[in-house]
C-alpha cells in the first residue's frame, strides 16, 4: 500500500510543480536560527492497513507519558471503519481521554520547528494526493536538519523517513497545515498563543478533568500573567469544588486584569453570593449587567442574583 502511495506521491509532485499560489513557507525560513534536532527516542509503531491515525497518536501519547497507549488500544477511540481513517477531532478527543491536553499549533513551519526543538514530536496531517483527490495521512515529525532543508518523520512503515522541506510542505499545505502536540503533564507547548492555549485547557475542564485543567491554568497564568482567562479557569474550578473564597479571589483578579469583560464580574457575583455576601454580590452583578446590558445572561445578572439571594433567605 505504501509503495503505491509513494509512487503516486512522486508522480503528483512532478505534476503539481508551479500549481499553487501562495509562496511556500520553507523558502523564507531562517535556517540559521535553527540547529538540527532529532528526537530519536520517539517510539515507532509501523502503521499497517489504514491505521496511521491510531499509530501516530500512540507515538505522541507515549512521549507524553501515557504508557498504556498503543495503536491497538486507540483503534476503538479514533478509527472510522467505513472511512478507513481517523478524523482530526477524534485524535484531539482521544488525547483528552488519555488525560493529556492536545494543542493544535499555529499553521506555520516555524511553529512546527519550535515544538520539535522543545522536545515534542508533532503529529501532522498530510495530503499525499491532490487537492481534489486526497490521500490523507498522519505522520509524526521527530526532527529536522535546517542546513540540508530536510525533515525527519515517523511515517507509515518507515521508521525514519527523511523528506525535503519542500516535499513535506507541499503535502502539509494540502492538509491545511494542521498539526498537534501533546506535552507531558506539567509542560506547555512552545508556539501556541494564549487564547488557543486556554481554549484547549477549558475543553478538558469542561469534561471534569479538574486537576489536569487546574495545573494547566496555573502554568498559563505564569506564562501570561496579564491574561485574565487563566484566572477565570482557576476560579471556575475552585467554584466547582465549593471553594468559594478562592473562587472569589481568582475571579476578582480576573476583573482587575479585564475590567471590561462582564464574565469576571458575573462569576465574582456568584462566588460572593455563595458566601452569603449578598450586597457585594449584587454590586458585582450590577457591573456585569452594565457592561453587557443586551446580553441574555449578563443583561439579567442583577435579577438572577436577586432571585438566588431571595431563595437563600427562604432556605
Amino acid at each position: 500500500m505504501l509503495a503505491h502511495q509513494r509512487f503516486l506521491f512522486l508522480f503528483l509532485t512532478v505534476y503539481l510543480v508551479g500549481c499553487s499560489a501562495a509562496p511556500f513557507q520553507y523558502k523564507s525560513l531562517d535556517t540559521d536560527a535553527w540547529t538540527a534536532v532529532e528526537l530519536s527516542e520517539t517510539p515507532f509503531y509501523p502503521q499497517e492497513d489504514y491505521q496511521c491515525g491510531p499509530a501516530a497518536l500512540a507515538t505522541v501519547l507515549q512521549v507524553a507519558g501515557v504508557a498504556d497507549a498503543t495503536p491497538e488500544s486507540l483503534v476503538s477511540q479514533v478509527y472510522l471503519p467505513d472511512r478507513e481513517g481517523s478524523l482530526q477531532a477524534e485524535l484531539l478527543a482521544a488525547t483528552r481521554r488519555a488525560d493529556r491536553i492536545p494543542f493544535v499549533i499555529p499553521r506555520r513551519m516555524d511553529a512546527l520547528f519550535a515544538e520539535v526543538a522543545a522536545g515534542y514530536p508533532v503529529l501532522v496531517l498530510q495530503n499525499l494526493g491532490l487537492e481534489r483527490w486526497p490521500i490523507w495521512h498522519y505522520a509524526v515529525v521527530i526532527g529536522f536538519e535546517p542546513g540540508k532543508q530536510q525533515l525527519i518523520l515517523r511515517s507509515g512503515t518507515t521508521e525514519r523517513e527523511v523528506v525535503s522541506l519542500r516535499a513535506f510542505e507541499r503535502s502539509w499545505r494540502l492538509g491545511n497545515y494542521w498539526a498537534m502536540v501533546v506535552p507531558p503533564i506539567g509542560f506547555m507547548p512552545e508556539s501556541v498563543p494564549s487564547l488557543h492555549y486556554f481554549e484547549a485547557v477549558a475543553a478538558v475542564e469542561q469534561q471534569g478533568r479538574l486537576l489536569l485543567a487546574s495545573m494547566a491554568y496555573a502554568a498559563g497564568t505564569e506564562r501570561w500573567p496579564e491574561d485574565a482567562t487563566g484566572y477565570m479557569g482557576l476560579g471556575s474550578i475552585a467554584y466547582q469544588q465549593h471553594d468559594y473564597a478562592n473562587a472569589e479571589a481568582y475571579f476578582y483578579r480576573a476583573t482587575e486584569l479585564s475590567p471590561l469583560q462582564p464574565a469576571g464580574f458575573f462569576n465574582l457575583a456568584w462566588s460572593l453570593l455563595r458566601q452569603e455576601r449578598d450586597i457585594e454580590a449584587l454590586a458585582a452583578a450590577q457591573v456585569a449587567q452594565e457592561l453587557a446590558p443586551e446580553h441574555p445572561r449578563y443583561g439579567q445578572a442583577v435579577v438572577l442574583i436577586r432571585q438566588a439571594s431571595a431563595e437563600n433567605q427562604v432556605n
Binding site: S76, L80, D82, A308
Partner: protein, 119 residues
C-alpha cells in the same frame, strides 16, 4: 416576536424532553471557562440549546461509519462543542487520515463540473 420565540423554544425543548441530560441547566450560576473563551473569540452569542442535538447527530454518523455504538458515545463526549459543530457540518468531507479512499463524491463532482463548464 418574543412570544413566538418562547413557543418555539418550548416546542424544541419538549421535543427532546425525554432525555433529562439534554435540558440546559438554568443560567443561575457561573459562566464556564469554555464559554468565556468562546466569548473572546466570537462575541457573546452562542446557541447552547442546539448543541446537544448536534452531539446526537455526530454520534449517529460515527455509528453509520462503522463505530460500535457504545464507543461512539464516549468518543463524542470527549469532543468540544466547536469540534462537534465542525463534524456536524462537514463530517463527510473532513479528512480521515490513512485512508487511500478516493471519495467517489469527489469524482462525481469533477465529472459534473466537467459536464457543466467544459462541454
Amino acid at each position: 416576536m418574543k412570544k413566538t420565540l418562547l413557543i418555539g423554544t418550548t416546542f424544541l425543548l419538549s421535543s427532546f424532553a425525554f432525555s433529562a441530560a439534554v435540558l440546559p441547566t438554568a443560567q443561575a450560576d457561573i459562566v464556564s471557562t469554555a464559554d468565556v473563551v468562546a466569548e473572546q473569540q466570537s462575541g457573546w452569542n452562542r446557541a447552547q440549546l442546539v448543541e446537544q442535538l448536534h452531539r446526537d447527530e455526530v454520534r449517529e454518523q460515527l455509528v453509520r461509519y462503522g463505530v460500535n455504538p457504545d464507543d461512539a458515545v464516549a468518543r463524542v463526549a470527549a469532543m468540544t462543542d466547536a469540534e462537534v459543530m465542525e463534524l456536524t457540518a462537514h463530517l463527510d468531507e473532513l479528512p480521515a487520515g490513512a485512508g487511500i479512499s478516493v471519495s467517489t463524491t469527489v469524482i462525481l463532482v469533477a465529472i459534473i463540473i466537467w459536464l457543466v463548464f467544459f462541454r
